[in-house]
């Protein structure tokens, strides 16, 4: 059955023969707005569950950190939109989260989702540029040049940069996740979660440093704690990420892999 087409510019799909219908306007980077709304609601629910305290500051790290760590694999770059929407509302509804930048505290989750999503959809150059900007925003702060402050972004950012810029490693990570390899999917998902989470936590660290003007006296003694927190988030994110990616493919539910395959 033919459906009437409207003379508008197709913004959602860049393929040469993409249908020029308004249906594409109900999608953002190929992901239906409905799916993004659902993701935002899930992110919101996760933000209601406090997990770990933030030493020396008000607020808690919530399960939302795990959701944003896997968002890039599930939604692609559109994860940035879902995370931003969920993050914004969570500030209103569950304000005990770590909202160091007030209403702008959704930005780290947005950046994390964007970097992870861009990498997963093989737009690695953009992912790399954003990751470098995030790392740069840490080192632009004069406090970042105090003794030992260089260790703060070190552990996971190095892995993230390796995954983004080393072609064979990047391709292996993407391929193993897309193939749902039973064994190698686990480390591949872990690396993808590290990339996403490192972009998120370094954005948070940078914003915190600029806003709170923190020095090495805060960061260096708490460094081990933060590495532990990030490791816990990455491990749990890997478990959930593998389950979600396998489940979405087997149940044939709409996610970024469908968009990539089309």
């Amino acid at each position: 059955m033919n459906t009437p087409e409207t003379p508008i510019t197709n913004t959602g799909d860049k393929r040469p023969n993409a249908p020029r219908t308004w249906k594409n306007r109900s999608r953002i980077w190929g992901i239906p707005v409905a799916t993004l709304a659902i993701w935002a609601a899930l992110f919101l629910v996760a933000c209601a569950l406090p997990a770990l305290p933030v030493p020396g500051m008000s607020g808690m790290i919530t399960i939302g950190a795990i959701m944003s760590a896997i968002s890039g694999m599930v939604l692609g770059p559109a994860a940035a939109i879902g995370n931003a929407a969920g993050g914004l509302i969570s500030i209103l509804l569950f304000p005990y989260g770590f909202n160091v930048a007030g209403v702008f505290s959704f930005i780290p989750a947005m950046i994390g989702g964007l970097v992870g999503g861009l990498l997963f959809t093989n737009k690695w150059a953009w992912a790399g540029i954003i990751e470098l900007l995030v790392i740069g925003s840490w080192f632009v702060n004069p406090k970042a040049w105090q003794p030992m402050m260089w260790i703060v972004p070190l552990p996971f950012s190095v892995v993230a940069l390796l995954v983004i810029f080393v072609g064979p490693l990047r391709n292996w990570v993407r391929r193993k996740i897309l193939e749902l390899d039973k064994v190698w999917m686990w480390p591949a998902v872990a690396l993808m979660v590290i990339v996403t989470h490192s972009a998120e936590f370094l954005t948070t660290n940078s914003m915190t440093n600029w806003i709170m003007n923190l020095s090495w006296q805060y960061w260096v003694p708490t460094w081990l704690y933060w590495v532990g927190v990030d490791a816990v988030i990455i491990v749990i994110g890997t478990f959930i990420g593998v389950g979600i990616m396998t489940g979405l493919r087997k149940a044939r539910l709409t996610h970024i892999v469908d968009v990539m395959e089309k």
């Binding site: 308004w22 249906k23 594409n24 306007r25 109900s26 239906p32 707005v33 409905a34 799916t35 993004l36 709304a37 659902i38 935002a40 609601a41 899930l42 919101l44 629910v45 996760a46 209601a48 569950l49 406090p50 997990a51 770990l52 305290p53 030493p55 020396g56 500051m57 008000s58 607020g59 399960i63 795990i66 959701m67 939109i81 879902g82 931003a84 929407a85 969920g86 509302i89 209103l92 509804l93 569950f94 304000p95 005990y96 909202n99 007030g102 209403v103 806003i211 006296q217 805060y218 003694p221 749990i236 478990f239 959930i240 389950g243 979600i244 489940g247 979405l248 149940a251 539910l253 709409t254």
Partner: protein, 268 residues
């Protein structure tokens, strides 16, 4: 599960335009992050309590949120007592522990900063739900669109807000089902056990709600979501005289706060 939902009342706060409430919220959020002197933060808390009183909503309606506050406040207070680099030593409790940055003394600045951080969190925790509890979802969406938030983004936000109870309910059903199957208690255990149980709950939750998203997508498509037409709203919002008063007061408060901060007042 916890959270704030709209409470119907006939009060000046409820009748305010959504845009006015968003502006006031933004100002309070900014100022509470600007000041670190407990007296100034206490002033903001008094202002927020006044708004709660005017909205005629009992604070007990956010007891789910506030029940977290007690122990979070305690952690924040203790951490600042020990680690804030103050100068006025009050009493010594141990020798210096350089590796964790602890001087061995409890300082006056540490106590003041700890109290300010607790008050700051309290202000944030009680001001944010007030917006949601005094603004119906359509009004909130309209306010977002009117302040030029893209419609699709505003739609995602308000849909997420409206889906929250359904997803919380689903999460509760999944946790009950897992308890029936012998999964350890969600409330007890160590942090690691809790996180592991959480992972077991999140996978079916995410997959189940993703299935629902397909139904929502079809429903939206059948209502021509994204059609290239000028969107209109059944309800229109307008500023009233009280809105202008609140906007003027918010702007004045913001300017005063910035001036005070520039003069290094309101900080420890």
């Amino acid at each position: 599960m916890i959270g704030a939902t709209f409470v119907q009342k006939d009060t000046p706060i409820h009748s305010l335009d959504g845009r006015t409430k968003l502006l006031a919220l933004m100002v309070i959020f900014t100022l509470v992050l600007v000041f670190t002197d407990p007296i100034y933060v206490l002033g903001l808390l008094a202002l927020v309590m006044l708004a709660w009183g005017a909205a005629k909503i009992p604070l007990s309606s956010i007891k789910g949120i506030l029940q977290f506050f007690g122990w979070i406040a305690l952690i924040i207070l203790l951490l600042n007592l020990f680690f804030y680099p103050g100068e006025t030593n009050l009493f010594r409790i141990s020798g210096p522990v350089a590796v964790i940055g602890f001087s061995g003394y409890i300082t006056l600045e540490g106590i003041l900063f700890g109290v300010a951080m607790v008050l700051r969190l309290l202000v944030i925790m009680i001001v944010a739900p007030l917006l949601v509890m005094t603004t119906p979802l359509p009004d909130l969406m309209l306010a977002l669109v009117k302040i030029k938030v893209p419609y699709r983004f505003a739609f995602i936000m308000t849909t997420a807000l409206s889906l929250l109870p359904a997803i919380q309910n689903r999460a509760s059903i999944i946790s009950q089902a897992q308890l029936c199957r012998g999964v350890s208690d969600f409330e007890g255990g160590k942090i690691w056990d809790k996180l592991r149980v959480m992972a077991n709950m999140m996978i079916p939750l995410i997959l189940g709600t993703f299935r629902d998203s397909q139904t929502l997508d079809v429903a939206m498509s059948s209502r021509a979501f994204g059609a290239p037409i000028k969107r209109t709203f059944f309800m229109e919002s307008h500023f009233h005289s009280f809105d202008y008063v609140v906007i003027a007061f918010s702007c004045l408060l913001m300017v005063t706060g910035i001036v005070l901060r520039v003069l290094h007042l309101g900080v420890i």
